[in-house]
Symmetry: C2
Subunit: 134 residues, 2 copies
């Protein structure tokens, strides 16, 4: 039993290490959001750069609070609907801090019995959103 | 103690789930290679597509065997040297199956006491390598 426990511990550390390395080194900006709470479970520095925040400032934050004109309920519903559609149409939002238009590409999965959304954030880097006549 | 074990188990499943979702859904082609053995520990379907193989055909395979004219020792040395340089110059290789020029961008890390290279594979999709007069 002790060996099995140690193997489990080693396997967890292996996944943990690989997870952190892949999050840090891919091009994609990635955020994990709890469906139940709407809060960010984890995000990489690429996502933080798109959102205009430091990476360690993102964990635990309400995902919807980072975007203009979106309530938590609205954003979650939009993201869940997007995961049901076959085409890869993003949910388009505007970041509160950097006023950039960003496309959110969500994938729904379960972890430890909880529903989680992995969202890729794809910025339109050279298209700042102009505050219009609204 | 039982609660701690269950929490450890849950945490491992959580990392495991996140790891698999991020590997499957990022744009990057990613391969994990053991430094000691030169064999692939894990790879995503994006990497399999670049290499012209099925994803489940990659695990356990010698990474160097997927490229022309590279011994395991040569490829490992080139990748390790690339992790030491400051600039992001890739190790350029030619795939055995698809004859495509691919840039390997390696990152070195430790997992469970073993050195592992995470390699991103960046293909030059529209530049097939012509078998020359060599």
């Amino acid at each position: 039993a002790q060996i099995a426990l140690e193997q489990g511990y080693e396997a967890r550390r292996e996944f943990d290490a690989r997870y952190r390395v892949v999050m840090s080194n891919v091009d994609d900006a990635v955020v994990f959001v709890s469906v139940q709470s709407g809060r960010i479970e984890d995000a990489n520095k690429q996502a933080a750069a798109v959102l205009g925040l430091k990476p360690d400032a993102l964990t635990g934050v309400s995902f919807a609070s980072l975007f203009s004109d979106r309530s938590v309920a609205e954003l979650t519903e939009s993201l869940m609907n997007a995961t049901l559609s076959d085409d890869a149409t993003p949910v388009t939002v505007v970041t509160s801090r950097t006023r950039q238009e960003v496309g959110l590409y969500p994938v729904l999965f379960r972890a430890s019995g909880q529903r989680v959304l992995m969202c890729r954030l794809v910025g339109s880097h050279d298209k700042p959103v102009v505050d219009g006549a609204s």
